[in-house]
């Protein structure tokens, strides 16, 4: 039912925190966090499934008092869709163009901030913060130990790291 021309913001499985001029979104299903700048946030909030892209552009013009074209809204929708923040994937009108080229084109014409959705993957496990302590080499291969100095060796000091240069220095 969702026509990408009438995009709908996803609202399930998300934790949303408004911060001044930005929105933080934590996606519980995909274990990702996103930060939407002011422009991307305004577009996302306008995606109610009833408002078309040109209408969203108009709304942004009213909110900012500055000229906004459809391409700028599409640039936001493109990123929101890519990050699973819309109910249905929107088909980008920028076929064959890199995002950089689109931003360059829009950037020259736009007087409001280019929409940006910054994202990162949250750690799978709190063990990522355990300081790589271990009791056996098996621990070092567990989820959350990916940043330790060794993923295969629990050394004689009980750290996932290469063996210590000492007698009985744990695994080699």
């Amino acid at each position: 039912m969702n026509n990408p021309q009438f995009p709908t913001a996803r609202n399930s499985g998300l934790v949303v925190q408004e911060v001044p001029n930005e929105i933080l979104v934590f996606d519980l299903e995909n274990n990702k966090a996103h930060c939407l700048n002011d422009t991307a946030a305004m577009v996302w909030k306008s995606c109610d499934g009833k408002t078309s892209v040109p209408e969203i552009a108009k709304y942004l013009e009213i909110q900012t008092g500055k000229g906004v074209n459809d391409d700028l809204v599409w640039l936001a929708i493109d990123q929101l869709s890519e990050n699973h923040l819309l109910e249905k994937t929107a088909s980008s009108p920028f076929k064959g163009q890199s995002r950089r080229d689109v931003i360059k084109k829009i950037g020259l014409a736009s007087v409001i901030a280019i929409p940006v959705v910054a994202s990162l993957v949250a750690p799978q496990s709190v063990l990522a913060n355990v300081s790589c302590v271990c009791t056996s080499s098996t621990d070092c291969g567990a989820p959350g130990f990916g940043t330790c100095a060794s993923l295969v060796c629990c050394n004689a000091a009980g750290i996932c790291a290469p063996a210590l240069p000492a007698p009985n220095g744990g695994c080699i």
Binding site: Q17, N129, S131, C132, T147, C148, I159
Partner: protein, 294 residues
């Protein structure tokens, strides 16, 4: 000795086997404590091991631990340490999770697991894996993973006169204040960097902060050989985003974590940069803080 007396006082008889945990094991020596609102039981079949486990829990939480005398009440989390032949075994919530011939290594792991359990489940507190110092009356948070130079930087900053809050956790309350967690600094051996020794901040000449403070700055930085401190200022949203991977309860209590980070970071100067030589860049960071913290 005191711990043994306390345990002796608290000991019950045989703890009944819990039917609700399949393959779950309980042991007949037990004590229960609460720290940061998290209730944890320690169990063993050996009073000496239980005593050591209790002492480790006391030091792990810097004494912020309250023994619960009514041990029949259910703890949310259970740890057990036992000896089986020539090895030591750790059980978590009734299931064996680790074996080790070295008692000290098993207890070191146990201490980390205890801390992470409380850090993840603390009530009204958000634990961020970070170094924290005090400068000009405000707290400065350095979120980051292990082995990325947090302690080295904190050690250098306190040598330059910064107050010591923590080299492991920034503990943020529900009003956005950050509390000291001044454990000994885990300093890596110069010769062999994966060998860690604990050094008291007082021995380094530090002033240890005792009261909570507002966060004046969040510095997202990690060591890179030949890098230089060239800070880029971030918005509050971007700062929180970059701190999320170091926020221990982010998955267990997402809404509370984001709300508290938002409160805590609201007035903070947030900067990001790699850094290189710690002597040079510690001074550069303090110069940056001098410029931005009024």
């Amino acid at each position: 000795m005191i711990a043994l007396q306390v345990i002796g006082f608290i000991l019950l008889g045989l703890v009944p086997f819990r039917d609700d945990l399949v393959n779950s094991v309980t042991f007949d020596r037990r004590l229960t404590f609460e720290s940061f609102g998290v209730r944890i039981s320690l169990e063993s079949d050996d009073i000496g091991l239980l005593s050591v486990a209790h002492e480790i829990a006391e030091t792990a939480f810097l004494g912020k631990l309250k023994l619960i005398e009514n041990t029949t009440s259910d703890a949310g989390y259970r740890f057990a340490v036992i000896r089986n032949g020539d090895e030591y075994q750790l059980f978590q919530n009734g299931k064996r999770t680790n074996n080790c011939k070295s008692r000290s290594i098993l207890f070191k792991y146990f201490r980390s697991m205890l801390r992470i359990t409380v850090a993840e489940n603390a009530v009204d507190r958000v634990f961020v894996h970070a170094g924290v110092i005090g400068w000009k009356g405000r707290a400065v948070l350095f979120p980051g993973q292990s082995c990325r130079g947090k302690t080295t930087l904190v050690k250098e900053l306190i040598k330059c006169g910064a107050e010591y809050f923590s080299d492991e956790y920034g503990v943020i309350d529900n009003e956005g204040f950050i509390h000291p967690f001044p454990r000994d600094l885990s300093v890596r051996n110069h010769v062999y960097q994966h060998d860690v020794v604990d050094i008291s901040a007082l021995d380094l000449g530090a002033t240890i902060r005792r009261d909570p403070a507002r966060i004046g700055s969040v510095i997202l930085t990690e060591f890179k050989k030949d890098a230089q401190w060239k800070p880029e200022l971030l918005t509050v949203g971007r700062g929180i985003l970059e701190t999320i991977p170091h926020t221990i309860p982010i998955k267990a209590a997402t809404e509370m974590s984001l709300k508290i980070l938002n409160l805590a970071f609201a007035d903070a100067i947030i900067a990001k940069s790699t850094r290189g030589d710690v002597n040079k860049d510690a001074v550069a960071i303090l110069t940056f803080l001098d410029k931005h913290l009024n």
